[in-house]
Subunit: 234 residues, 2 copies
């Protein structure tokens, strides 16, 4: 059997949100690659998928540091790609685990593009996105009828928010903790400060759901927070 | 046990893209509601989920006609909601099947909102979206890093396309067959006619993948077609 590289989106956290396809691929995998952001951390993706990994699979946790320096990032990507390549050359079935969906804001994308370019066979298996799961928690529609849906990770300068907020119908804002104050300011500027909900630590015991603009203005927002804006109202 | 209303996103077509959670809920369901758009059609959602439905479950196929007349739509929604309510009053576990994700462009949304308002317990189970699966088929990233992702169903007048195309980074266009010519025109106007891919009948035997603007210009696009625009290039 030829070596093959799989990317599996394991969803946002609940192990039951894995797909049947993900479980089938995990069952036949020789090597499981689990990304983590910090040396001292465990891999969250591994934690979600672990009950479906069989005993004989080799688990490799690779470091993908969350830094902004492109050179450091590239160095890690290249090193990690080389580790994966060794297994592919040895005709292994290699699975890369990624949170949420595999093709949306994941480090898998860089590995996949590089390995595809080098002629390796790749297969991506979709996962449930964090915003689908967040919307489900509060039973809030993301978009209906002719409405549009935009997803953006909030940046420190708020540039993409500034660019898109006037044009969207529904907006999912990820990484709210990067700059909640600029978000509050923009929501007020476009008169939609009453048309948002923020869900923090979704699915955890200390989950917080709020529609109070003051929480954003105070700037004290947990790391895992998502805002959904519905310009047409709730 | 009290009656409860569940919405399950069964994903875009491959039965293996159901989540484990969806399967667990299907296993305990008393009633399965399957929407269909035309009287003479079968329910596609039922076809995807059927192998996980146990023998004792009652399957009810309800008609949700694809018409633009709001009065006709509302009449059907109300009739269908009443049918579901009867089962909930009889303390049944009622599952509504929906293609893709349950909270994105689904008729489930209207049932859920109405039943939630009336005080019934509801639970939504996320599904894989059609665009995640489409992107997986061609191993194309939907968004990475600080990029944004916008999803819009193409309308006959192209209004939301006109409004959003200048501001987005990555764009998923659903229902391309509604007006491929206006899409071609707008892609050219914003100089992104080389930055798109169209996937028609994704996952079917007669799947078509094209990056040729002429196909859009000729206006002959199959019903199940999705376009992904990457303004930053491929």
């Amino acid at each position: 059997m030829k070596g093959k590289f799989y990317g599996i989106g394991v969803g946002p956290g609940d192990p039951d949100l894995l797909t049947l396809k993900a479980v089938k691929v995990l069952n036949k995998a020789d090597v499981i690659i689990c990304p983590k952001g910090k040396e001292e951390e465990d891999s969250i993706a591994l934690d979600i998928a672990k009950e479906h990994i069989h005993e004989k699979a080799v688990i490799k946790t690779l470091l993908f540091p969350m830094v902004h320096c492109k050179e450091t990032l590239k160095k890690h990507w290249q090193e990690n790609t080389s580790i994966i390549e060794e297994d592919l050359k040895a005709e292994k079935q290699v699975v890369f685990l990624t949170l949420g969906d595999a093709l949306l804001y994941s480090t898998y994308i860089y590995m996949m593009e590089s390995l595809k370019q080098q002629g390796y066979e790749v297969e991506t298996i979709s996962g449930i996105t964090s915003f689908s799961a967040t919307a489900s928690t509060v039973n809030l529609p993301l978009a209906k009828g002719k409405e549009t849906l935009t997803v953006l990770p909030l940046t420190k300068d708020g540039e993409s928010l500034e660019r898109l907020l006037p044009a969207v119908d529904n907006l999912v804002i990820l990484k709210v903790s990067h700059n909640p104050k600029v978000l509050a300011e923009k929501l007020k500027q476009y008169n939609v400060e009453n048309n948002f909900v923020m869900i923090s630590k979704c699915g955890h015991d200390d989950e917080i759901i709020t529609r109070d603009i003051q929480v954003l203005e105070e700037g004290n927002v947990p790391y895992l927070s998502t805002v959904i804006v519905k310009k047409g109202g709730f």
